[in-house]
């Protein structure tokens, strides 16, 4: 579509990147914050649109470019192939809604903070695009760290709150440690030729041991960004701290850059995969998914809850990647393509679902200024439009048909179910258990979403101040509407999406589903064969809607429509106060009870004699004490010991130099 104008998709994308940078600068110099909100952010959304279009057009072609920047003997190499095009598509399409939403969200922010924020925001977008485009280690690292840096500044927007600063610190620290590991990974991969272009790495042949080192370094490094266990600690801190559109962008898009990195290194740069890498990734993914969803169920802060749910979804995606590796190593390319499609699809879905929900929390924050679930209730009456939009997101994230969350889970489960016949018997044993864990996590997601939606929007308001909150503004609703459309479209027309994903699977595992998907027409999704598995979301939607309408009409025709309003009955209990409903803690209590062993629960239970009985319980992340605290303690201990060396006595300092001299002389001798 661009070729007709004689423009390559790559050029368009570079143009958009530059455009974003210019917008950011403009935001820094513009004086009027309303102007920034109303003009710059919508323009940024237009940029996203162009990016998405170009990426869509570029899916089936590979173009490269070299910019005259970077190191003297290593200029910036750019390359857009199917993989990067797909993730650019994700970036573009998901960021449209977010930018539109931001136009409304940031409108009444003081200029002093909005100017830098606008710059960081667009820098963030641009650096993510460059991450996907980079074709040499240096540019990749530069873009990667710029992404981390800009998002760090975005996270610390309201930096006068200590917990926000803590979150930002933890975030950038873990991100940096991850970046170091990625750097090492590239250091190994260049295999001693000192050539850091990805092209050279593709041709460098590593021994299996070095290749494994690369894979696990990459898993660690990118895992730190994706929030894979046990490197997830920053995620539940940073997402609540950030402004909601930023949380949406980080959770929806930035986490996927890590997935991109893993895929790029494992399937593109490394010429090989080993099945046990896949097993490792699979196990890690499942653990992450279960951990995330279980902890999401017991959260009481709506954004923390969503953050943990992001951890869960990343776990899903990683599981798919691991499965892909297993299949690909045992030459079951059709299955590999299926699993890969599933995880890519889920990445795309998650961008929309989670983006939508985070944006929604933004609107709620705007209206109520509150993040604690215990303060909400009955918002569906004050904010009906928002409630409708959020309902779609919640159902999608709960993985319910016919919305998009279900499609990718369905594909992933198909991949599991069709796995028998792998060469390694143990994996054959492992797969059903893995599938069970996956299903368990998926089912728990439903629990989490019911808690999320029900506690916020349904029931009676738990706080009197909620009576006079306003619904989301027009721009905000428009932004969320983009996301909703994405969720529905992705859910109802999976065949089209998969037809586009085929370019990626074709490139990575040299096989694609298109043949089977196209055969039975776009109405039915049949990844392998029609008789093995098929799923027609549109039919499903039509049947349910049609059935519902039919019943409604029948009832209307046959039955009188008399309706009275009265007080709630509730088994005839007279007094009904809002405090009688479940709190957020209460709703999560069964899960906490079941999984108590795996989380550190601190309870404060009243005794029968308390005058003012007060029950309080909070849930901590045990992994923190297991993995992070010891490192800190070790660090402090070493510092303390070393500190003793330097106690201010000049004689001792002289003695140091003297002994060093003597030692060296003796050494030379």
């Amino acid at each position: 579509m661009f070729a007709s104008f004689g423009v390559l998709p790559m050029d368009v994308i570079l143009g958009v990147v530059v455009f974003w940078l210019v917008l950011g600068m403009a935001g820094l110099v513009l004086q009027n914050s309303r102007l920034i909100a109303r003009i710059i952010f919508p323009l940024g959304a237009l940029g996203s649109l162009a990016l998405a279009g170009a990426a869509l057009a570029g899916l089936d072609e590979t173009s490269t470019a070299i910019l005259p920047l970077g190191l003297p003997d290593l200029p910036f190499h750019l390359r857009m192939d199917a993989l990067s095009a797909f993730f650019l598509l994700l970036l573009g399409s998901a960021s449209i809604g977010i930018s539109v939403f931001s136009a409304g969200y940031f409108r009444d922010m003081p200029k002093a903070s909005l100017g830098p924020l606008c710059l960081e925001y667009h820098l963030f977008l641009a650096s993510m695009a460059l991450v996907f485009l980079a074709d040499d280690a240096y540019l990749f690292m530069v873009a990667w760290e710029s992404m981390a840096l800009s998002s760090y500044f975005l996270v610390t927007t309201d930096h006068d709150q200590p917990e926000v600063r803590r979150a930002g610190f933890l975030y950038l620290l873990i991100a940096h440690v991850g970046a170091i590991s990625i750097l090492m990974c590239f250091g190994v991969m260049q295999g001693g030729h000192g050539d850091y272009t990805f092209g050279a790495m593709r041709h460098a042949h590593l021994t299996t041991s070095w290749a494994s080192a690369v894979f696990f370094l990459a898993l660690f490094g990118f895992g730190a960004k994706a929030g894979i266990l046990p490197l997830h600690a920053w995620l539940p801190e940073a997402h609540p701290a950030a402004p909601s559109p930023v949380s949406a962008m980080m959770s929806g898009i930035m986490l996927k850059t890590a997935i991109y990195g893993i895929l790029r290194i494992t399937f593109d740069l490394l010429g090989m995969q080993l099945w046990w890498w896949g097993v490792a990734a699979l196990a890690l993914g499942l653990l992450t998914a279960l951990f995330g969803v279980i902890f999401a169920a017991v959260q009481v802060d709506m954004k923390r809850l969503l953050a943990y749910s992001s951890i869960e979804n990343i776990g899903f995606i990683l599981t798919g990647v691991g499965l892909t590796i297993i299949f690909h190593d045992s030459h079951k390319d059709a299955l590999a393509a299926l699993a890969l499609t599933a995880s890519l699809y889920h990445a795309l879905n998650h961008a929309f679902m989670k983006g939508l929900l985070f944006l929604g929390t933004g609107s709620i924050l705007h209206a109520t200024g509150e993040r604690h679930l215990g303060k909400f209730g009955g918002l569906i009456r004050q904010m009906p439009k928002l409630a409708l939009l959020m309902l779609v997101g919640a159902l999608a994230l709960a993985g319910l048909p016919p919305l998009n969350g279900f499609v990718s889970e369905w594909l992933l489960l198909q991949a599991f179910l069709l796995s028998p016949g792998l060469p390694q018997p143990y994996i054959n044993m492992l797969v059903p258990i893995a599938a069970a864990a996956l299903v368990l996590a998926a089912a728990l997601a439903g629990y989490v979403m019911v808690k999320f939606y029900g506690v916020i929007f349904l029931g009676q308001p738990r706080d009197s101040s909620l009576a006079k909150v306003h619904d989301a503004g027009l721009w905000e609703r428009a932004g969320m509407l983009c996301m909703v459309i994405g969720c529905i479209a992705l859910g109802v027309f999976p065949t089209f999406v998969i037809l586009h994903l085929d370019h990626v699977t074709e490139m990575l595992v040299h096989h694609s589903l298109s043949v089977s998907a196209a055969k039975t027409g776009w109405l039915l999704l049949t990844p392998i064969q029609a008789e093995r598995a098929s799923y027609g979301p549109l039919v499903l939607l039509l049947i349910i809607a049609g059935g519902g309408l039919l019943i409604a009409l029948a009832v209307k025709k046959l039955v009188h429509g008399r309706l009275r309003r009265g007080p709630a009955w509730d088994c005839g209990f007279p007094a009904q106060t809002a405090r009688m409903q479940d709190t957020a803690e209460g709703f999560g209590q069964p899960i906490r009870q079941i999984f108590e062993w795996y989380m550190g629960v601190v309870r404060q239970v009243p005794t029968p004699f308390d005058k003012h009985p007060h029950f309080h319980s909070e849930t901590h992340d045990l992994l923190w004490n297991i993995f992070y605290a010891p490192v800190k303690r070790l660090n402090d201990a070493i510092g303390k010991q070393l500190g003793k060396l330097q106690h201010g006595r000049i004689h001792i300092y002289l003695l140091y130099s003297f002994l060093t001299l003597l030692a060296l002389l003796a050494f030379v001798r």
Partner: protein, 317 residues
Amino acid sequence: MNYPSLMLQLAQNALVLLIAPLLLGWTNQCRAWMQNRTGAGVMQPYRNLVKLFHKDAVLAHNASALFRYTPYILLACMWLAAALVPVLATDLPLSPAVDVIALAGIFALARVFISLAAMDIGTAFGTLGARREMLVGFLAEPALLMVLFTASTISGSTSLITIVETLAHKSFVLYPSMVFAAVAFVMVMLAENARIPVDNPSTHLELTMIHEAMILEYSARHLALVEWASALKLLAYSTIGIALFVPWGIAEVGNWGALPLAVALLFLKLALGGAGLAFIEALSAKMRIFRVPEFMGTAFLLAVLGLLTHFLLEAPA
């Protein structure tokens, strides 16, 4: 899809909608007999529905649109589920749209909606019921899926039609894994249909209710729809059980002659199934709510065991 199969589809749609209350009534009646009660009769559910449809609907003041539309969605979901399970013949034109995973998905959809509706009014019982329902559900759904997976790994497919055809019409094989699956399935069925020992549909004590607690606020036609939906749910589960474990006698594609026999067999199986269900209920006692997770967990583990046994004993070499 051709004309007769379309007719068949419509016929099954109508049939399931109509006989669902019958199955419910029959089960309750059997239970009454086993408890040496006279019972209200097989037709009681129909009478209830008629009565409810004639009453004036009463809505709580703060009931939202979600609360009002849920019954329709609920009934539609259950109807769909029941209508797409091949119990009479295996060429249901709409069945390919929904495989076993999607089926579980539809049940989940219905569960989420009814739970949300229960939370809508904001009464103590409503949220309590919703929480317990989700608690049961998040363990029941994987267990059900595991059961279905056992069947689909045997038949190498997740589409119900293929499963039925493999199990019923291919050479007859004994599948030890299906034993585990069957036990697990029964436990899930008890839990999902709010039967003893998990729930007791005929009580309104706050300690015990799960399903009833959720629909306390519904009245008249809305309640009727909900009740009908749960009847359909029972039927759907029974038909799934039939399709998985006793699929024999279901008519093959194009073999219209076998249809009458299939109908007869279906009623027989349903009758037996209902009686069995009542039998189990009569024997067992309602358990404490926090025993339920253990109960469901057992079901889940049994199902996984079934799947493992399949890989151990029956894996295609």
